[in-house]
């Protein structure tokens, strides 16, 4: 069993993904949940770059371009998500996820 740099990159990204997952599952502040999702997205980006760097064809910039688009989508997601948080706060006076259950049947 040899640990190549690619293995290390993948381990790093999976650890980051799990930190984001734990945060998104266990925190009750909706801002932190959003940030956890953001971390998971970043971990996926790390994987793209790792496979681009050590893949068979690093001269093609496909991995870089994919991450570029992903960053743009993440920015849009963060803006809309935080706007949602502020809208929830205006209605509930709280950003705890447990309090936002008005629509629960």
């Amino acid at each position: 069993m040899i640990l190549t740099p690619l293995h290390l990159c993948l381990l790093l990204s999976s650890a980051l993904f799990c930190i984001g997952l734990i945060g998104a599952l266990s925190r009750s502040s909706s801002i932190l949940v959003l940030l956890g999702v953001e971390l998971m997205l970043n971990a996926a980006n790390l994987n793209f770059i790792a496979f681009w760097r050590y893949g068979p064809n690093p001269a093609a910039g496909t991995g870089v371009l994919f991450v570029l688009f992903s960053i743009a989508v993440a920015a849009a997601e963060a803006a809309v998500g935080l706007a949602l948080v502020i809208a929830i706060y205006r209605h509930q006076r709280s950003i705890r996820l447990q309090d936002a259950r008005r629509l629960k049947g």
């Binding site: 381990l11 650890a15 980051l16 790390l46 770059i49 997601e77 706007a83 006076r93």
Partner: protein
């Protein structure tokens, strides 16, 4: 290799601590450090353009929006005690996260991956631009539309509705 380990430390430790802290501002600032670490990873991997984009978008823009949202939603009521269901949720989250971590680590470690021997040819900014405008034009346009719609949507969602006065007066 040592560079990668340092980057992993700078990325993982702040992220883990941020998810455990009670102070949301501290969490946000630590996560910004973690994002900067990810930018360092991109730089290490030879994607300079991406590293600067990451810093510009995450450290420069998203962090500002996050901090603004935290300041606008100062929660005073829930600061007192820990809600009873929090511990259970945290335990469940840790269990699930740990299980996923185990599965991912096992999968990665048991897979024989090709050893990256040849250094990657640096992708220049010019090359990226050509690629972006020739092969991925549609994607670029779609992202542009998406960003515009997201901006408008965020403004509509966050803008206070001036007609429903009593709602804001509380």
């Amino acid at each position: 290799m040592t560079g990668l380990l340092i980057i992993a430390l700078v990325t993982l430790v702040p992220a883990a601590v941020a998810m455990a802290l009670r102070n949301v501002i501290h969490s946000a600032l630590l996560l910004i450090l973690s994002w900067a670490g990810i930018a360092a990873f991109y730089f290490w991997a030879g994607a300079e353009f991406l590293a600067f984009s990451q810093v510009l978008v995450y450290v420069g823009a998203i962090s500002m929006v996050v901090l603004f949202a935290v300041l606008l939603t100062r929660h005073t009521r829930t600061d007192g005690g820990v809600a009873p269901d929090t511990l259970g949720r945290a335990l469940a989250g840790l269990l699930i996260g740990g299980a996923v971590l185990g599965v991912l680590f096992g999968a990665v470690l048991s897979t024989p991956l090709p050893i990256g021997s040849k250094p990657a040819a640096a992708v220049t900014v010019h090359g990226l631009g050509v690629e972006l405008m020739e092969r991925h034009t549609i994607a670029l346009l779609v992202v542009g539309v998406l960003l515009t719609v997201a901006l408008l949507g965020a403004v509509v969602l966050a803008a206070s509705d001036s007609r429903s006065g009593p709602e804001d007066a509380r």
